[in-house]
């Protein structure tokens, strides 16, 4: 078996041998050679990084200015060849494929980049600012052309509204004063204060140069896709320099863009979860992340120290009822309104309550692992022509299971998955049942499977008619 370094060296050997065959020659640790294309040939310099082949080679034109500057070049003039989502199979390790890619880059440049992917990455063209705090901004539409104030809040700097720097103000409190500008469509990246100033209003330029403004929130578009870059204006004594600030929008759109395609649909749904202990609390959390807009939580228990390792609640909830703890989690972590989460510190063994919840909810998820509750819920759901879910682990955590109750379309229920019970190993005082040895990772896995089935039912696309059983091996527990 060869070690990591020799593996890399052997990949480098293969790449360099192929480069040589393609007419490249080694020059002071780099490789120089021709790329044939329509307006070429162009001589390029290829540099293999220390982490090759796990990291891609870098390519610069030998004549930096002969090749047109565009969105497709790095700040140091290197060609943008490998997108962050384009690492499949480390394709660049094959020199022939890599040189083909470089050739296509030049051909695209010759053609003016038709069918260009609008990577919104203007920040790539600025050196990072020494101020490493994250700048958070809300929807900037109403602030275009205006001066704004950004204040420190914990680890971030947040745009809080209009504002200008008071005379003689100090900046040591972390407050920044900025301008929001909209440059519209950019055909090539803006990389310097000089080039940016040509696109700004005269008054804005004056105030930046007078050090009244130290932050620029620049909106721009590429192929109709809007984006924002936030820049730190630094006076070096010899002129103004622009440095990139880490930034991110804090808008409804940005918060929901990663929640999945069912988010909008799930916003209108209400889910009841019976039992918000181990499995139930994580089911609630997953469904809230997916977009479910309202919950009813049913449980009688309180959060005990020993619960935390298998529960969504943290140590601050010890002693609180589980329904209150999970409700607080939904509100603080996921921003649900107080009236969207109902906490019922009651037993689920209540027929009237279940009748009402089945009728009032889009789905009821039973996570009590209580045979009686499951049986009762099954009966009520069937009688009302509805479907519920029951999610639980079996066999000391070696089996996870989700049942659709009743099954869809009269499908056969899944066969029993219970095995011989093992001897309980741990009891806690005051607790009638032994503590299950089910590990947290099995709990969370079961909860996620249940959440996927719940989303399927809520969106009218059930995953299976009867549910799902998965046997986890003891080795993975």
């Amino acid at each position: 078996m060869i070690d990591r370094q020799e593996y890399q060296d052997s990949a480098r050997l293969r790449f360099e041998e192929d480069l040589t065959r393609a007419g490249f020659r080694e020059d002071a640790g780099t490789w120089v050679g021709p790329i044939e294309h329509k307006s070429g040939p162009s001589t390029v310099i290829i540099e293999l990084p220390d982490l090759f082949p796990f990291a891609a080679p870098r390519v610069k034109p030998e004549d930096q200015d002969w090749t047109a500057w565009s969105w497709h070049r790095e700040i140091d003039g290197a060609l943008c060849l490998v997108a962050q989502d384009d690492h499949d199979d480390l394709w660049w390790a094959d020199a022939t494929a890599f040189l083909g890619h470089v050739t296509r880059w030049f051909e695209q440049a010759d053609a003016g980049w038709p069918d260009d992917r609008p990577d919104l990455d203007l920040e790539r063209y600025f050196e990072p600012s020494d101020d490493r705090r994250l700048v958070i901004y809300r929807d900037l539409e109403g602030f275009v052309g205006k001066f704004v104030r950004l204040v420190r809040r914990g680890e971030v700097v947040e745009l809080i509204g209009p504002g200008t720097r008071p005379p003689k103000s100090r900046v040591r409190d972390g407050t920044r004063y900025g301008l929001v500008a909209d440059l519209g469509m950019l055909t090539e990246p803006v990389t310097t204060w000089k080039s940016l100033a040509e696109l700004l209003e005269h008054d804005a330029v004056r105030r930046v140069e007078a050090s009244e403004i130290d932050t620029l929130l620049i909106r721009y578009e590429r192929d109709g896709h809007p984006a924002t870059v936030v820049l730190d204006v630094v006076n070096t004594g010899e002129g103004l320099m622009l440095r990139g600030l880490a930034s991110a929008p804090d808008t409804t759109e940005s918060r929901t863009a990663r929640a999945g395609t069912s988010y909008e649909t799930l916003q209108e749904k209400k889910v009841t979860v019976l039992g918000v202990g181990a499995v139930g609390s994580f089911v609630v959390d997953a469904l809230a992340r997916a977009g479910v807009g309202a919950f009813v939580l049913v449980d009688t228990d309180v959060v005990k120290p020993g619960n935390l390792v298998r529960h969504i609640a943290d140590h601050r909830s010890i002693g609180r009822s589980k329904v209150a703890a999970v409700r607080a989690h939904l509100m603080s972590r996921h921003g649900l309104r107080s009236d969207a989460v109902t906490a019922e510190r009651k037993s689920a063994m209540d027929a009237d309550l279940l009748e009402m919840l089945v009728a009032d909810s889009d789905i009821v998820v039973d996570a009590t692992a209580d045979f009686s509750v499951t049986a009762l819920l099954h009966q009520i759901a069937a009688s009302r022509g509805r479907h519920a879910l029951s999610a639980y682990l079996q066999n000391d955590g070696r089996t996870l299971r989700v049942d659709v109750l009743p099954t869809i379309g009269g499908a056969e229920p899944l066969p029993s998955s219970a095995t011989e019970a093992s001897a309980p190993t741990y009891y806690e005082a005051g607790c009638g049942s032994p503590v299950s040895p089910t590990p947290p990772q099995a709990v969370i896995e079961a909860a996620m499977v249940a959440a996927r089935h719940a989303v399927g039912l809520l969106t009218g696309r059930p995953l299976t008619p009867a549910g799902e059983v998965r046997h986890l091996t003891t080795e993975t527990l």
Binding site: L13, R21, D89, A93
Partner: protein
Amino acid sequence: MAQLTAQFKAALSAIEPDAADKTNAADAHQQVRAALEADDRLAGYGIDTILIGSYKRNVSIKRIKDVDVFGRMEDSADDVEAQDILDHFFNVLDDEFGVDDDGGPRCVRQDRSVQVSFPEYDLYVDAVPARPHTGGTWEIPERGDDDEWVETNPDELTSLTTAMNTTHDGYYVKIVKLLRQTRRAQMGKGSKPGGLFIEILTYHAFERGLVSGTTLAEYYASALNGVSSILDDYVYEGVEIPDPTLDDAALRVRATDQQFKDLRAALEDAASRADDALVMVDEGKAALIYQDLLGEDEDGEQVFPMPPGYNDDGSKKENAYTPGDPKVPGGSHRFG
């Protein structure tokens, strides 16, 4: 086509004289030069010492055993006999360097020079007296009569080397070293003809346009073919090899006909094998050939290293990099 650029560079590093050798050589020749230039008689002849030889031309290969100092005496009288000036060189240097720790003399009078030993460096310095010859060249004592001189122009070879190396983008000197090492590996250290002969052959091969390439591997194979061709003409066709430093003079080398034939055969075989290696796709097998051609260093290590990912026998190691080898078995379109 196995170019193995990194391995050729490593081979050159392996045969490059050590830094300590270079430092010692510099110190030794400075001592000898200082002794000669301090002598009143030689000063009266306007002695001006310069370095010559492979060390000066930067074509030495590990290790540096001797350094040549050329004592040019511009104002030397024509009636000074060759053996007389050689005797004087000996006396000056013998007075300066005396005996070694074992009581043996450090200076030895040779046919054309005085050899000074530096036991602490395991190094010799050859001091060669020279007087002007017509036409801007020099002449040095020759074996035979008391006043036998022979024309030479060693500094010109330094100039030619520099110029040829510039013309070939630095490849010339590297190839001379590789061919000297090849001769040593194939013929044995100390065999004749020696390293200077192979250097001159290489110069002619380059000068005649017989050598070309874009990589060390291509230059190496091409140069072996070039020198093999020139030597073949010399051995079997009687075509003289010119001394590139003198007009209309043939190179004179102390070796027997059989020794020339043996070297010709070895170079022809080396050229053929280098051609084979160059077109091989399997870098491991190609490296084996280069290892055989360039031999081992004084420590018994292969001068030409096996490329990464290959075993010593040239076979590919298990788990060496293979194009398309899936290090991520799940494939693409992943999220994490």
